[in-house]
């Protein structure tokens, strides 16, 4: 049995280092990547801006979020990031966000593997009750990945986004601890 919570079948989750803000700045240059991850205006971040955000949001003594970078098991290359934030401890709920910044790693199960790892962390280390996420409905690859990881469709905000000349919905998904435990029974 693999007793390291943060190691999956294809990837591992790592402590965030100075390399992360640099990678974010690099990934933000692709508007294709940016638009899949963020509903804000797609424009490249400077390394300084991402470093400042990193220091402010993630380097506090006791931040109310858990951010990791995603690394390939085979050669430790950093391919993206994943994190829990918006944790409401008294209700046991949080949001998860994930991005695979390196495009050649899309659609190959790495993100799904990272999501499975962080769900284990959320339910068996943080003892949360549920994990929530939202995703844009022009990102069917992500939606399929979240379904594979065990998320259920819970609702949608209709025509919330305006991109590429048309309106798109924001899809809300969630997974309960009991659902996750059932899914992993016997493993």
């Amino acid at each position: 049995m693999n007793d390291n919570l943060l190691v999956g079948k294809l990837v591992r989750l790592s402590a965030v280092t100075e390399a992360w803000p640099e990678a974010i700045a690099r990934w933000s240059r692709s508007s294709e990547t940016f638009r899949l991850m963020d509903s804000g205006v797609s424009s490249p971040y400077s390394v300084k801006a991402t470093k400042d955000m990193f220091d402010k949001e993630f380097q506090q003594e006791k931040p109310n979020n858990f951010l990791f970078t995603i690394h390939m098991l085979q050669d430790d290359q950093m391919i993206g990031d994943i994190g829990l934030d918006g944790i409401r401890w008294t209700h046991g709920d949080c949001f998860v966000g994930i991005g695979i910044g390196e495009k050649q790693f899309w659609g190959k199960g790495y993100g799904t593997d990272a999501m499975r790892i962080i769900l284990r962390f959320a339910f068996y280390e943080l003892n949360l009750h549920r994990v929530s996420l939202n995703v844009f409905d022009y990102n069917p690859r992500a939606i399929r990945s979240y379904e594979k990881a065990g998320f259920t469709h819970e609702g949608r905000v209709r025509q919330s986004l305006n991109r590429a000349g048309r309106r798109w919905d924001v899809v809300y998904m969630g997974i309960l601890r009991a659902e996750w435990e059932r899914m992993n029974a016997g493993q």
Binding site: K62, N64, I87, W89, L126, N127
Partner: protein, 186 residues
Amino acid sequence: MNAILLTGSRVRLACQDAQETSLAFARWQRDTQYVRLLSTDPAFPWSAEKIKSWMVEEQEKPLQDEFFFNIRTIPDDLLIGFVGLHEFSWAHGDAWVAIGIGERQYWGKGYGTEAMRLALQFAFMELNLWRVSLGVYNNNTRAIRSYQKAGFQIEGLQRSAGRRAGQVWDICFMGILRREWEKSLE
């Protein structure tokens, strides 16, 4: 869903105004017996000014770090003490509770016990905690009896943890589980 939190029959838990509270804390700290029963720190009084700036700093911390209240009497609204939940271990649903009644004429009359019951109601019904912990000097029998009345059980004893006035004091660890608290309401 409609439970009224923070209000009992003889006391209520109120917010901590830094100005008013620092003056009261400074007055209470002149009573070294109060400080010795309350804390393991040396009974060294702080000025109201120093307490106030510390308090303002604490209050600016993220909310999930601690929940401190002033204890005020009903109906005359006198500030007699404080109670607070801190040292949260959210993933495990545990927190520590601290309580002090600074006004001596309110000792031994059930005010602290009622304030503790309100703090436990807040801990279990609003914060949804799993357990609440506390530590108390073993020779503070009045406090231990109060905590037992509120539902705490003795869980352990740290021997010779304090030395004061030529005596050796043990620290008694107490705790209450959510299901015990729920049962005590029946």
